[in-house]
Amino acid sequence: MDNELRLFPRLAWSRVRGQLEYRLSFALMLIGYFVMTLADFLAIWVIFQHLPLLAGWSLGEVAFLYGTSYVSFRIADMVVGHLDMLPTLVRTGALDTVLTRPLGSLYQVVTIDFGLRHVGAIAQGLVILVIACTTAGIPWDAGRALMLLVTIACGTAIFIAIWIVGATTVFWTLGSGLEVLNAFTYGGNQMANYPINIYAGWLRRIIAFFVPLAFVTYFPSLYILAREDPLHTPELLRFASPLVALAALLVARAVWGQGIRHYQSTGS
């Protein structure tokens, strides 16, 4: 594990250098990111125009849920987003090389790329979050500030876990993997964005406990926002996100391990 951590900057830098090798395309890429980021910031305005006043939540509160979930999701995207290359790695047999090296396979797939381009989207989420923090009427204190950081960290971990599990399905469903993955990750983000009491009961239970999206932001936010839970769940759940995140990561690691054992490589 220490070898993996030590190598990270070197591998990340090699990716940036690899991109620099193609100078023109790197310049185009930078322009692209800039335009995308600009569009992201324009989108904030649109988002605030359209955030619904849902089931007894104020605009500021909804923005707070949206912002925390969005920032977590975007950080997770930066770290593991290129797992969507996994179907290609499997199909081309490039995963073979990964498996002959003295490093963790998941680690190597994740460091195949470094998602610099996501910085803009993370910044966008942070702006939404800052606006929400000042308008949601939060009774700020040290505990709540700390809880905000914990929430984002746990949310990121949960999204990373979902991403990994979603990507791993490719080992069983060769070919149709990408759609499944996107349903998990982007769909999950969409759901976590809104207060879960707007969903039907059965869906709510799945979101809360099976794919633990409710722990990304809903439960901890109840504490930060000092709100009654319209669903009257036990208070303890508001502080359970770190445990849930840890469990999610462990499950993801186990599922990945099973996936690798199922890896069949290619015939040529």
Binding site: N3, R17, G18, Y22, D96, T100, L103, L174, R261, S268
Partner: protein, 336 residues
């Protein structure tokens, strides 16, 4: 003690095919599965310092075996240890002790200069500075790589890249080196350069080498021992010379004469084919040597050009089957 131990190793692949007549969106869901038996109950040992040719026709199961030995694939059955490790369960630990080159894949960083791949691998395998410098230096000298070290990998020729791949696989002084078709697509010069390098590596560093190839020339130059696999099972395991004496007995002399002539009449050879001035003469290793035959032909006609064709691996496999049908013992009683 054997450095590679393989016992009853098997691998089945589960492959899906759409159900007959299935159409539309559900065709992918409603699939039937069949098992392809790629490797079936294969057993062999390789001693430290051996250089073994693992050969057989297309689809025989060579690459699948190597993928199990390297920990890429989890076996469906049987046991194997490599340098004391169980590949699929101790993959990461074992990786420091083995090197792998797949002729059809690359382990180099496509978009970086070749030298940068070596530096990254140095850090991945934690090779000490002096050892790295020594190993790299030796490869650069013996395989003449100095002039393309700064070239991005994607711009290298196949032969240059293959020298890079070999270097990359050897920077950490592996005890075992697996080569899956290392000379595929290379020209004569590039092939012989790689063969020479492998010979010296095996001689000087004592590296154990297991290599697959479709090129009998590779085998003749490099291996004293061959393992022949076909349809997932081992057909022959033993000395190359004995194999040749027993099953690769038939060779062909191809001569280009100065002018078209009727089929030549020389002892111990039968003319198989005549095409203008070119004739194909089949002869048995036991009856006559190529040199004697060439001399005999030269007495009968003027030779412009000639070559001797060795039987291909596919021919040898066919003859082993034919021999087995006649009850000839296949396996060498004293392998290695």
């Amino acid at each position: 003690m054997a450095i590679i131990e393989v016992r009853d190793l098997s691998k089945q692949f589960r492959v899906a095919r759409p159900r007959e007549g299935a159409r539309g969106p559900l065709a992918r869901v409603r699939r039937e599965y069949t098992d392809v038996r790629a490797v079936e109950r294969v057993s062999f040992d390789v001693e430290p310092g051996e250089m073994v040719g693992y050969i057989g026709p297309n689809g025989a199961g060579k690459s699948t075996t190597i993928k199990m030995l390297t920990g890429i694939l989890v076996p469906s059955g049987g046991r194997l240890t490599v340098a004391g490790f169980e590949p699929s369960r101790q993959r990461k630990e074992m990786a420091r002790h083995i090197g792998v080159v797949f002729g059809q894949r690359t382990q180099l960083w496509w978009d970086l200069p070749l030298a940068d791949s070596f530096t990254l691998l140095k850090h991945i395998y934690r090779v000490p500075d002096e050892r790295f410098a020594a190993n790299l230096g030796r490869c650069i000298d013996t395989m003449e790589m100095a002039e393309f070290l700064r070239t991005p990998v994607r711009q290298l020729s196949l032969g240059q890249r293959m020298r890079g791949e070999l270097t990359a696989a050897l920077l950490h002084n592996p005890e075992v080196l697996y080569l899956d078709e290392p000379t595929i697509g290379l020209d004569v010069v590039a092939k012989s350069r790689i063969r020479e390098f492998l010979t010296s590596l095996n001689r000087d560093a004592g590296t154990t080498i297991l290599l697959t190839t479709h090129d009998m020339g590779d085998i003749e130059r490099l291996c004293r021992r061959v393992i022949i696999i076909d349809r997932g099972g081992i057909l022959y395991d033993g000395d190359l010379e004995r194999l040749k004496a027993r099953f690769a007995t038939e060779r062909t002399l191809v001569v280009d004469l100065e002018e078209p002539a009727p089929a030549l009449d020389v002892p111990f050879a039968t003319v198989e084919r005549v095409e203008g001035p070119r004739q194909w003469l089949r002869f048995q290793r036991a009856d006559t040597s190529a040199a004697e035959l060439i001399a005999a032909v030269a007495r009968a006609a003027r030779i412009v050009d000639l070559r001797v064709d060795e039987p291909s691996i596919e021919d040898v496999v066919l003859r082993i089957y034919a021999g087995a049908a006649k009850g000839i013992a296949i396996n060498d009683p004293s392998p290695g």
